[in-house]
Subunit: 234 residues, 2 copies
DNA sequence: GGGCGAATTCGCTGCCCGGCGAAACGTTCG
DNA sequence: CGAACGTTTCGCCGGGCAGCGAATTCGCCC
């Protein structure tokens, strides 16, 4: 992740060596959709002993290709960023896909949006992840250098939930919560709660049959895309 | 160069392994500007024995990263194509350059255009290479599946040198000739001869002091860019 | 607190592969 | 035709590294 001199053979070789192993390549390809996996899952997926996987994962993390996140006794691993995904894809397939699929990588979420639910006081499941992605894609949230709400993001929340929707309290305004079904982040913190309440208040989402399950209403399906770049199921 | 399945860890690892060696990485970086080097030069450049370099080069050629061209007792090696250069750059430097610098990689030629000369009956040196690049960039020549003149290219030659400038004779219409100063191709064959004669006839180039040396005239400097996408020295 | 499961550390083994020099091959030049 | 040169093939050596199992640490749950 350093600046990297323009042409250093040793650096190039070192980077390539990271992907030059079948097991590590399997890991990176599995992680390429941006989801987080546990170390054990990756080991099983690649067909190697957990100890072997641990060493490889450690190497990939040190090199900055992967980032790690502990949750309980699990260790979740994700690609460090889209640039890494781009590099892996460039090397894997001949012709890489368009640099930045403008719509976001939310297509996968479509078939599972039914898994929307609440998590404490905010939205989780595929819906939560989709909203999180949309907020980031539209520049309302920034993930560089930690998670933060941007000025446009603050304005967006005001437009959504009325004046001063995020009073200064002890609670963090935004927090990334790792979603245990989607293996990706959704929005928690005060803003996550405001977002959840607002969506219910507008009638864009409603409770499903069993507690915690949530589904999008027709009104929400119509109104949400006007507010946010999201791909909802047809 | 096969189609390559979308996600094959082994294939990814194999490709990465090609660049995962310091010596091979040095080779690819040296070749990244598109010029051709001899095997011995590359060996010296990387600081390894010729025998060692030979094995590495053979591997890179087999994998389709490099293409080879024998000329006398020398063996010239070039990157197989711009996609390869793009892959190497992606992996080498963090942010790669723009996918296709529209103007072509002719900037390097600018400072050495004085090296223009004739080679038998066609133009060589930096001028020859620049013209060749321009013909390819403008779609007048195609290098996919061997060198060939496209229909627009045929029209272009007619506009340049009058009706039926390329009568059907035994001689190949277009031929790529490896330029020994620029280490890249210039245009030979019947079309190369026509191009050379036409440029002299229009007064766009003229003989220099010593035989075989050529220089561009002011008229040529003004007229050539109207015909072809080329970067001439200021 | 005890037990379980996930993850990591450690030591070891085996193999892959990059390096070299010597010799063979082909081309160019005197 | 013989010498010089660029390149390739061959055999060998050495180091690096991926793999495993055993032991250890740590967090969670009954």
């Amino acid at each position: 992740m350093s600046g990297a001199g323009p042409v250093d053979p040793a650096a190039l070789a070192a980077r390539a060596a990271l992907l030059a192993d079948r097991t590590r390549a399997t890991f990176c390809l599995a992680l390429i959709d941006g989801r987080a996996w546990t170390a054990g899952e990756l080991a099983r997926h690649a067909g190697v002993a957990p100890s072997t996987a641990s060493v490889h994962l450690d190497r990939l993390v040190r090199a900055g290709l992967l980032v790690t996140e502990r949750q309980g006794r699990h260790r979740y691993l994700r690609l460090a960023g889209p640039e890494v995904a781009r590099t892996v894809e460039t090397l894997a397939g001949g012709a890489g896909p368009a640099p930045v699929p403008p719509g976001l990588r939310a297509s996968r979420a479509a078939s599972r949006l039914a898994a929307a639910r609440t998590c404490y006081d905010h939205l989780a499941g595929a819906l939560g992840v989709t909203l999180f992605d949309g907020l980031v894609a539209d520049g309302l949230l920034t993930t560089t250098d930690g998670l933060a709400l941007t000025p446009p993001g603050r304005a967006w929340f005001t437009a959504l939930a009325g004046p001063d929707p995020l009073p200064r309290t002890g609670r963090p305004v935004v927090r990334a919560c790792l979603d245990w079904t989607e293996r990706r982040h959704h929005l928690a913190g005060a803003a996550g709660a405001v977002l959840c309440r607002a969506l219910f208040a507008h009638g864009w989402v409603e409770r499903g049959r069993d507690r915690r399950s949530v589904r999008i209403t027709e009104a929400g399906r119509a109104a949400l895309p006007d507010r946010l770049t999201v791909a909802l199921p047809s």
